[in-house]
């Protein structure tokens, strides 16, 4: 950590609401959201009516595929291609010139990341919102011998739309930064694809976690891959629900590996993935995002915990 940086140079522009009922979007703002199978993605139901009363416009992503999505916008359903800055930009413009919220809770990475990439440049004020789950349903303490079926969990490594990297220059000298979740097999799978040099793997664990015990689950779940690669020695910590802490950590790691390009695997928390995408968008260094595209199941999480609103525009222009 570069401890010489003053705290006020590293602001964490996050508003934390302990309950979703405590949250209210700004009047006359636009709010992009999607409902997935997870209960928490429906969190807006409890405050939507009140928000409409202050003229908040809701833009609902109604469906999505690998290359595009449909969204209800101003009473019309629009189809938007993910690999089109032009179409994405038009979408943001249609959201108006005021504050726009992008709620990533119910959106997969391959949809919100391209939206964010263009949104940062297009919006005057962009905030990203995210609701933590109260708990995860899958086994947080997988036993040895439990067979983890990746084919039910991921589609495989492929570029996130808008984030394809075609330059090979950094392939011989790169630092690999996996942002760890609980599912160690996903890390093993990505390691097999990326083939990073052992001493240049810097895993990131979310500490503090959404729950106090979660960092231990992350270690436990990823134990085999961390041991095999000796990467456990390089583990770094960043607040699990804070994209900005992750962003700063990535800056620090980048400074420690000055000649290397960076490959980041956002397979941990969504706020960490958000930090990684912000870093990829704003860094002057060569940054490649490596992602395995999980197949989300409705039964993955349960309940609703805190809501977090990240002032992305404020952060980017800081």
């Amino acid at each position: 950590m570069s401890s010489d940086r003053r705290l006020n140079e590293r602001p964490l522009l996050t508003k934390v609401c302990d309950s979703v009922e405590d949250f209210s979007p700004e009047p006359d703002s636009s709010y992009i959201l999607a409902r997935s199978g997870e209960f928490r993605s429906a969190h807006s139901e409890s405050w939507e009516e009140a928000a409409r009363a202050i003229n908040v416009r809701f833009c609902r992503v109604t469906s999505f595929g690998p290359s595009g999505f449909t969204i209800e916008l101003n009473g019309r359903v629009e189809e938007v291609a993910l690999r089109s800055s032009r179409q994405l930009s038009r979408l943001w413009q249609a959201c108006g010139s005021g504050t726009v919220y992008l709620d990533i809770t119910g959106l997969p990475h391959h949809v919100w990341a391209p939206l964010l990439r263009v949104g940062i440049a297009s919006c005057n004020r962009l905030l990203v919102t995210y609701v933590e789950p109260r708990d995860y349903r899958f086994s947080q303490t997988p036993t040895e011998g439990e067979i983890f079926d990746l084919s039910e969990k991921i589609s495989g490594v492929a570029a996130i739309p808008g984030f394809a990297t075609l330059t090979d220059e950094g392939d011989d000298h790169f630092c690999f930064i996996p942002l760890l979740g609980f599912e160690g097999t996903r890390l093993a799978y990505i390691l097999e694809h990326v083939q990073p040099p052992g001493e240049r793997i810097v895993p990131v664990v979310g500490v503090p976690g959404f729950q106090p015990e979660y960092p231990f689950y992350a270690y436990l779940g990823n134990r085999s891959a961390l041991t095999e690669t000796h990467a456990w020695r390089n583990v770094r910590l960043a607040i699990a629900n804070c994209p900005f802490s992750l962003f700063y950590l990535l800056e620090d790691i980048a400074a420690e590996y000055p000649g290397d390009s960076l490959k980041i695997a956002p397979i941990g928390t969504k706020p960490h993935a958000l930090g990684a995408i912000l870093f990829a968008v704003s860094s002057t260094r060569s940054v490649e995002i490596v992602y395995d595209h999980p197949i989300r199941k409705s039964s993955r999480t349960e309940g609703i915990a805190r809501l977090l609103a990240y002032d992305v525009s404020g952060f980017v222009v800081r």
Partner: protein, 631 residues
Amino acid sequence: MTSKPASAEEQLSSLFGSYKAEWLKGRMFELFTEPAYFPDLITSRPCLLIGGRGTGKTTVLRCMSYEGQFVRSGSQADRIAEWPYYGVYYRVNTNRVSAFQGPELPAERWVRAFAHYFNLVLCEGILRFLEWYRIHIPSSEDLSALDWELIATSLHLAPTFSASELLRAVRKSIVSFEAYINNVADGEAVPLSLQGAPVDALLQSLMWLPQFTGKSFFFLLDEYENFEDYQQQIVNTLIKHSGESYTFKVGVRELGWRVRTTLNANEQLISPADYVRVHIAEKLDGERFAAFADAVISERMARIETSVRMPKDIRLLFPGLTDEEEAEVLDRTDEGPATRAALELSENVPEVERAILNGMPLLEKYFLVVWARAHGMSLTDCWRSYVDSPSMWSVRYGNFKHSLLFAIRKGKRGIRKYYAGWSVFVQLSAMNIRYLLELVDQSLLVHIRNGRALDAPVSPDMQTLVAQQVGKKNLAELEGLTVHGARLTKLLLGLGRIFQELAANSEGHAPEITQFHLADEGRGGTIREDVDRLLTAAVMHLALLRFSGSKPGDERDTRDYDYAVHPIFSPFFVFPHRKKRKMLLTGQQLLGLVSRPRTTIREILADHNRQIPEDLPDQMLLFEAYYRDEQ
């Protein structure tokens, strides 16, 4: 301040612990040992280097690159001009090539887009080499400004007049092209170069330079399986039509070369007309692999700085046991079924022939008793036959003795079969250098962690325990190797259980069944396709090995091959690691091992007159949920 010298353990980890080429990076070149097939690779013809994960493809290809060659030739700049070839390494990266697909463009536009991108990639590789060459040999001749301009034009780039300018322009062009791909739905037209044309233009021009006249340029393409099918066709086309100035050396996993045609669907790449096929397992079979492995490991051992004198011969560190010795050891550790059998036999041997009995190893006596029991003979008759027909019994004993070892301690805790000795380790690795390095590394680590000296032999017990651990670790890793890893793990758990039961209960049956082949159930159909997918993935990711069957046929036809569980897993399951007899399985049974293991294992064992015991062996208890059809 001087740094503390590395401990033996640290040195071992550094030299042997990095089983993967990508972890060794710079040291890979220093530690490189030329395999026997190396001369085949450095001819000026296209080559396909086929091998499983860990067979050394990446190491070989990287060492053929100009960076590798430089280190291998002692980093002497004045020798660069003497090299007969210059290799440019390129690893096919899924994260990159997967971007060239989607509904935004019709298929033929993706072909053109990818062909253009690949032109840029290959040209960039050569231009980077030229930059490196000029740094090391500044006096070397250059192409004319006109030549550089023409090459730039062939890539649709603005005129450039030197190699460094062109390199900058190519890099910039790749970045622009990246932006195009990332916004491909915007429909903007970008100028695309003609497939292969700029590469031809660049390399044909270079051939006129005196320093490159008569030299070959190799594009070293690693992990060819990562290309999409249509991309393989594009590169196949380049391979087919690569001329005198350059050629391709391709590293690919077995069955990873899915498409053999070029962009012309009627044009196939055929060996040996179009390329040299180097199948690592075939080229490095038997003694050649042993010699190669010996050289690789001795080279690393020689670098260990230690106060003890390391033995020159690696074999001395890994002593094995003969079958007869092993029977004695196994029988001693428990109730001794072999000893009891020997006693029983001695009671049936006439006094005058006792000297013969006393001269027999315990295992042979045990064999006679087991044989008599299995064939309903009295021990007296069996002994008489043994004395009267020694050569016949010698052959029988030779055929059965190894399989008997699996029965001595069946169902018992602890070591039930030894996997020890250098030659056994070599066989367990099945020509996979990564597995062999892992076995050696882990054995030596456990050995010194137990307070033993590095120059002292590793005990057979320790070797066996390590072999079991290595098998278990690689089994656990399978699920993360591919999206379909869980199916492979289940297939292996099922087959492992079957071969383990067949081995432990071989009395009265054909010994050492360790392979299977598939019943001919006709072509087509969803089951057949599913079986093919499963077998292809299993072979590609080294869950299974395959061998040419009795009918030579299409390399991609799964029915023409015999299959075995990779022997690295045999110590974990406890079944013979040797390639011996085979059994017949149906496609349904194979799929059943994945989806309904309990029933299917029972059914297959019943076909071989065995019953499955209720209790799982200790090491398989971990996977109890699978064996109970609960996973």
